[in-house]
């Protein structure tokens, strides 16, 4: 829980990128360029030939697009195919001012116009335009233009092969890490909410930031499912299905958002002081359960015991009933409504957390060990 107060941790050290996704992608992209360079040097390429080889390798990585693995492969090939055609034409046109301007006008219009087909078409268009423009500014005769195109294809294909065949991602590992990250973000959001119970100086802006991080994490999980050809909307409580775990993440987030909306229930209400303390203590236990899941090593973790927390919440419920809020006039009634709603949402968080862990066990074949083991 002290992590919440540590802005440095949240902003810089927190593994928003747990050893894969962006980091891995960036590393992979760098390695693709290095291997392409190595291959070119082995082939004895120098000067402009080497440059075009590297441009091919770089454009395959920089203008990567598509929501699924197969589509990314297809769009990569389309880009390489298109530039291998436009580059020699641009090389020839580059020698004549009027022809180069006319060619660039038509090509830029076409590249921007295809954006009506979607983001992928737009990315391919931009990639094609950039590479072709490099060729326009270094004019050449038709044959050297074609040779340039061949080097471009060579570098691009090496990059393509490493990217898609020699170093593909393991979907299960990626999804489990994305799931842990989403739970970690929600855990931080929950820590923030706990801190808010006792400390009104924790502002809504702080909590908004944490909630948007959680939401982005869940969205990332969905995007990764889609990129592995798994429909995230396939599956529900009764039918099961691949999207079942995604749904449990969404429901956990919904319950946290519900809690967020009522967390200020005890502000400037001295009669809730004791209740506030009990809410805080119960929340502490829930925060620790988040930590258990996040700190999971390999595919196993110690199964948490939810019963003491649920018993705490029952006890708070009894206290609230005994306070007879509905007999306290309009203002009192509203304050009690907020307190009841907070309790309800807190309980929801516990139930959704329990459900999320059960679904995770099934989805990722995790081993949840009991304390005794």
């Amino acid at each position: 829980m002290p992590r919440f107060f540590n802005r440095f941790y949240i902003k810089f050290i927190r593994p928003t990128d747990p050893g894969l996704f962006i980091t891995k992608y960036a590393a992979k992209a760098t390695v693709c360029c290095l291997i392409s360079l190595g291959a070119a040097l082995l082939l004895g390429l120098r000067g402009h030939d080497l440059l075009w080889w590297l441009i091919g390798a770089l454009c395959t990585i920089l203008f990567r697009t598509g929501s699924t693995f197969n589509r990314r492969k297809m769009y990569g090939l389309i880009l390489l195919g298109t530039v291998s055609l436009t580059v020699p034409v641009a090389a020839v046109a580059g020698g004549h001012t009027a022809a180069s301007l006319g060619f660039i006008f038509l090509l830029s219009f076409a590249c921007f116009f295809v954006s009506s087909l979607g983001v992928s078409a737009s990315t391919i268009g931009i990639g094609c335009l950039v590479v072709t423009m490099i060729s326009v500014f270094s004019p050449a005769a038709p044959i050297p233009g074609l040779v340039r195109s061949a080097y471009l294809m060579g570098g691009g294909l090496i990059s393509f092969l490493i990217n898609f065949y020699l170093w593909p991602f393991d979907p299960e590992k990626v999804l489990l890490s994305a799931a842990k990250l989403a739970v970690e973000d929600m855990g931080l959001f929950f820590d923030g909410l706990c801190a808010r119970i006792k400390n009104p100086r924790v502002t809504n802006a702080n909590l908004d930031y944490l909630s948007s991080e959680s939401s982005a994490s869940i969205r990332r999980y969905r995007v990764f499912m889609e990129s592995f050809n798994v429909d995230p909307l396939k599956g529900n409580k009764t039918q099961g299905g691949p999207g079942l775990y995604y749904f449990s993440l969404v429901r956990l987030f919904e319950s946290l958002m519900g809690l967020f909306h009522h967390i200020h229930f005890s502000d400037e209400t001295p009669e809730f002081d004791e209740l506030k303390e009990r809410f805080y203590n119960a929340s502490w236990g829930i925060g620790e359960i988040f930590d258990i899941f996040i700190e999971m090593k390999s595919a196993s973790y110690i199964k948490p015991d939810f019963s003491p927390i649920l018993a705490d919440l029952e006890a708070i419920q009894t206290t609230l009933v005994e306070m007879k809020g509905y007999r306290q006039g309009d203002d009192g009634q509203n304050r009690f409504l907020e307190a009841w709603a907070t309790l309800y949402e807190l309980k929801n968080v516990v139930l959704e957390l329990e459900n999320m862990m059960k679904t995770a066990d099934r989805r990722f074949r995790l081993e949840a060990r009991s304390h005794a083991e």
Binding site: A26, A27, C33, S116, V130, H261, Q333, L337
Partner: protein, 361 residues
């Protein structure tokens, strides 16, 4: 599939299409940049048209937005690159640094445009400084070429069919309200159903989220464009916040809907339905007002209806009418009703915000 692509392309092949105009605008700007470069024989000729290509966005606000980020990133990166170049590091160190920067370029690509451009520029300057005699020259040229490219891009954006983002705001805000209204309708139906369809609910929310993102982008772009007074700019950004809060309330409402059917059954049901109808009316009126500016909403309507409902609920509770329900169901209803109040208040605030944008002081 291919027929579908052709149909989409041919549909846009008209002067009235925004995509066609944007493509033509971009083509003119890029061609102009190439022509200028060919006439001035700049050393790094490519940098000017590439800058134009990158900054050309469908709306003027979008172009302004990306332009300042590119300019700031370039200045920061070039300055950093020149500083490193003056250290006169050995070739092996320059090579390692260039590859380390390559990693950072890929890392920030798509995450932080300013940082991406800064590292890209710094990397370029370091590599070029190692190859050419004057370390500062490439950095200075990079800044100059970027500024020239931005100038050409902005000039063409202003002169050729300038597309102000604020022109499409009514439609974007109207679509967002419609999407949030539709999602609220789904939640309302699901709350009274014993088997809420979670897939349907989530699809509705994703649609609402998409509309929110689209509207936020348009409002942010519009806020940077010339022609608005500062009060209107702030109101636009406030409006985005209000709609974002409404979206969050709808998320919170989903958690309540998914877990119980609450206590709004039997005698209280007609009052509950009336309250829900009031909210739906608010959504409809707000949408009409956003699109046409013609409807009018009174915050009093929702407040009155909510107070009446709460009074009725209070008296029924005092009479023990809800004792037959489990405590969880009662808590669920408390939570639900509080979210409804937040939605009602949020819609009133959105109406006030829209009014302020339309009639600034």
């Amino acid at each position: 599939m291919q027929n579908n692509h052709w149909a989409r392309l041919s549909k846009e092949l008209t002067f009235s299409s925004q995509i066609f105009r944007h493509a033509l605008r971009a083509a003119i700007a890029i061609t102009l940049a190439v022509a200028v470069v060919k006439q001035t024989s700049l050393y790094h000729a490519l940098w000017v048209p590439i800058t134009v290509l990158v900054i050309m966005r469908p709306s003027l606000g979008g172009t302004l937005h990306i332009s300042w980020k590119r300019l700031a990133g370039t200045v920061a990166g070039a300055a950093g690159g020149i500083l490193i170049a003056f250290l006169e590091l050995p070739m092996a160190a320059v090579g390692s640094l260039a590859f380390a920067m390559l990693f950072l370029i890929f890392y920030f690509k798509g995450r932080n445009y300013l940082a991406f451009i800064a590292f890209l520029t710094a990397d370029l300057v370091i590599v070029l400084a190692a190859a050419f005699p004057h370390p500062w020259q490439s950095g200075a040229e990079r800044m100059l070429d970027t500024a020239l490219g931005i100038g050409i891009g902005l000039g063409v954006s202003f002169l050729v069919w300038p597309n102000f983002a604020r022109k499409n705001l009514r439609q974007a805000i109207g679509n967002l309200i419609a999407a949030q209204h539709s999602h609220f309708g789904q939640l309302r139906k699901a709350y009274l159903s014993d088997t809420p369809d979670s897939v349907h609910l989530l699809s509705g929310r994703l649609q609402a989220r998409e509309s929110l993102d689209n509207c936020t982008q348009k409002c942010t772009d519009a806020a940077i464009e010339p022609g608005l007074i500062s009060g209107q700019r702030q109101e636009l950004l406030n409006l985005v916040d209000i709609f974002a809060k409404l979206h969050k309330t709808l998320i919170a409402l989903s958690s309540i809907v998914a877990n119980s059917t609450g206590v709004f059954k039997g005698e209280i049901l007609p009052d509950f339905e009336r309250l829900m109808d009031t909210i739906e009316n608010q959504f409809s009126q707000l949408e009409t007002y956003a699109r046409t500016g013609e409807a009018s909403m009174s915050p009093q309507t929702f407040n009155d209806c909510f107070s009446r409902f709460m009074a009725r609920l209070g008296s029924m509770r005092m009479n023990g009418e809800f004792d037959r329900f489990p405590l969880d169901a009662r808590n669920n209803s408390s939570s639900f009703i509080l979210q409804i109040r937040q939605i009602g208040d949020g819609l009133d605030q959105a109406y006030a915000g829209l009014k302020n944008i339309r009639a600034p002081q």
